[in-house]
Subunit: 244 residues, 2 copies
């Protein structure tokens, strides 16, 4: 499994992803699921991926190949809008489907993949898209300014309570770490380190990109404070009035 | 969907279940998922059910029929141990499987059912079992003193942080309501009212059984305090040290 989260806020974009991949519980490895393409002052594009690792790697390989084939109209480094970028990612997913889906089906394996594409291309505001296994996609809006892929449930309540488009980038990054931490605690197929990337609107460069390991002092402090805070909050919550 | 939760604590047992049933998003109804059999000073047995409503109702109908057929060795009102009770529930599930599974499969419907059986029969301590669709079952232990069935993920983190076998019944009931509330907020196929039942060890009678509606003053207060408390806790959590 995997858990990736991205938020589209007034101030910019926040991306976070875990780095555990498993093929059964006895075959667990570390693979980062965040990919960044950037061109100073022109564009910053981030891709998060969940699903079958062979499929997501094949999709990224196609995207990289298109970037290397300079003048390609399928290159993320050439697109004039992120919407066009989402279409390119969708087409790459469909290409892998045509190559592999039949053989996967015969082996009893689902064609499972989902991706989040976000960033900013000069001439546009920052944008955020979620792309499905069928290659179609949706865009984040002010009413629903975030996307999750993979193991999404454990980490959703805190995002729903805290995030709106007006949230500042520091709070949003903190919320992303809390959301990832809740998921990592509850599902052993989601694991550290966490890739955390913050993009500030109109900067066309990474504001911060951290790889957060288990021994990161801030992450440890945050985890401890949050866990103790939840238990303290539970203690002060009024008791039921019923005779028990 | 459904969400049911039960805890086996030193002081007794706590059961909670929502009451929403849906066949697609355009066919939502209210059905309670908690069933109680009791015999003063002798036994108290509670059954929680999740899955296909036609299946769970068929299982309960068999259990009720067995109870009415007095001297039956398949009656929950006659069993000398809750382990025997769990076997009876498992057999009832298998009976429904033999009646209905083929027709369900032909209609493209899964044979989906899971149940939690808990209570106390005189001569034994309180016990708690989870019964699967195949009719087999497991028992709660001090290391893992609770079971969940249905939509379990949203409401699991708070239970993991708060509940151990030493937790008192009032705190456990409060925790069950928080867990149900988190799930109800995140998944519209889980809904109010909540059936909440507390059983105090060796009393062989219900300590409290509440049907908690949306307009319940305590539940509303608890919801508000919890939501505000989470947001406050998030605010005082230290900010990341990285330049963002």
């Amino acid at each position: 499994m995997t858990y990736c989260l991205a938020m589209a806020l007034d101030a910019g974009l926040v991306f976070a992803s875990d780095s555990r991949t498993n093929a059964g519980v006895d075959h667990i490895s570390t693979y980062r699921k965040m990919r960044v393409w950037q061109q100073p002052d022109e564009r910053l594009i981030v891709l998060l991926s969940a699903g079958n690792l062979a499929i997501t790697q094949a999709v990224v390989a196609i995207l990289d190949q298109n970037v290397r084939a300079a003048e390609s109209e399928h290159s993320l480094m050439q697109v004039g809008s992120l919407h066009h970028g989402a279409r390119i990612v969708g087409q790459a997913i469909r290409q892998v489907y045509h190559q592999d889906a039949k053989a996967l089906r015969e082996a009893g394996v689902d064609f499972s993949v989902s991706m989040i594409l976000g960033g900013q291309v000069r001439g546009e505001p920052p944008r955020l898209f979620m792309i499905y296994a069928a290659g179609n996609f949706i865009e984040a809006t002010p009413e629903t300014p975030y996307f999750q892929i993979g193991e999404t449930k454990y980490g959703k309540p805190i995002v729903d309570r805290v995030i709106s488009t007006g949230t500042d980038l520091t709070s949003a990054a903190k919320c992303a770490l809390v959301s990832l931490d809740s998921t990592i605690r509850s599902n052993m197929t989601v694991g550290l380190p966490i890739d955390l990337l913050v993009y500030r609107r109109d900067e066309f460069a990474v504001a911060t990109h951290q790889l957060v390991h288990d021994n990161d002092p801030y992450f440890r402090e945050m985890r401890t404070c949050w866990g103790q805070g939840i238990r303290d909050l539970f203690q002060v919550l009024p008791d039921p009035p019923w005779k028990i």
